[in-house]
Symmetry: C2
Subunit: 201 residues, 2 copies
Amino acid sequence: MIRVLLAEDQALVRGALKALLEMEGDIVVVGEAARADEVVPLARETQPHVALLDIELPGGSGLIAAAALRESLPECRVVMLTTFGRPGYVQRALAAGAHGFLLKDAPAAELAVAIRRVLQGQRVVAPDLALMALQEGPSPLTQRESEVLAAAAGGATTADISASLHLSEGTVRNHLSSAIQKLGARTRTEAVRIAKERGWL
Amino acid sequence: MIRVLLAEDQALVRGALKALLEMEGDIVVVGEAARADEVVPLARETQPHVALLDIELPGGSGLIAAAALRESLPECRVVMLTTFGRPGYVQRALAAGAHGFLLKDAPAAELAVAIRRVLQGQRVVAPDLALMALQEGPSPLTQRESEVLAAAAGGATTADISASLHLSEGTVRNHLSSAIQKLGARTRTEAVRIAKERGWL
DNA sequence: GTTTCGGCATGACAGTTGTCACGGCGAGCG
DNA sequence: CGCTCGCCGTGACAACTGTCATGCCGAAAC
């Protein structure tokens, strides 16, 4: 039997995925987590062969959970599961030690296939996503630019950002201006949208 | 047997929900739609007792599909299913003729229960959502304000909005200013964020 | 029939934002 | 070492944004 840990914040989807997996016969869901910080303790307790992690989880992202899992249970394979094909996520997920990366857009039959492949040591990435990831490349933003842009995402003003990051307003505007140019945007708002679409935020 | 139509854009989630429902024994999924505009034709063909509609669907929202379904198959009950508890959605969904409104946060067991209740003529709304909907009330924005705010959501400038809605720039700024005040925001970006959170966009 | 409200518009104003030029500091590199 | 690059800052300027006062129009409400 393949022992699977399931991390997904929406209970209904989590329950449905469990039903789907257990229809396979040779798969059993040994643990269910709704938050990122529940993953490692639960994995220690249940010793799964594979952890299926949603990338967007409360209590820290699935990426953090994947890295933590890699530390404490190196034997456990990690498959990331996510809604949007943000290409930036793929690189970050693989860097965090994930063995597979699936979209929720994929057909249901593919899930069990992916789990078996990953258990055999293969890396499984949704093909169109892999392509996109190669095309887009990694984020062109420096760390500071990302921070400033992230702070601007919620609608904060320049003054708000400068206060929260302990920078001068002029510097904040410079970083934003740089990010706007790199992303081909015309306003900070547009830059935020583009960065989010690409998974760079 | 209860005949169910399933509309959900993410194939994996759709397949998983189907597996969950069919575990019940007395429920059969007779149709699966990935887009809003597939719902009515598919329903005509498959004659379901209940349609389970995600609110966020490509090809028009689930709200539109619900209203169209109410027109062409009045016998068919409608249950909306959504990710976020945007209170504004509840009112709009009920106005569109939905009989139930569930969150994907709800426990998996609740889904079948809700379907059976709705079939018996009851209205089923997730209790915490109903409360929030009453607290928040409907959107305070006029139609024009909503349109302008929606156009601003993607990062468009005042000039862009005025062009796409055939208004003067001054008028756009007035509508935005009004929306910003009504929402208690300080910038258009913040107003967009607040309106989205409340389901008013 | 007068009042109220939403929509549309103009003009003016202060404040914010995006850009540019310029300089300084520290880290990595040939 | 000199060079580049990221980071931080300043000052200045044009453009954009948010607000306000004021006005006109049509529809709904009293």
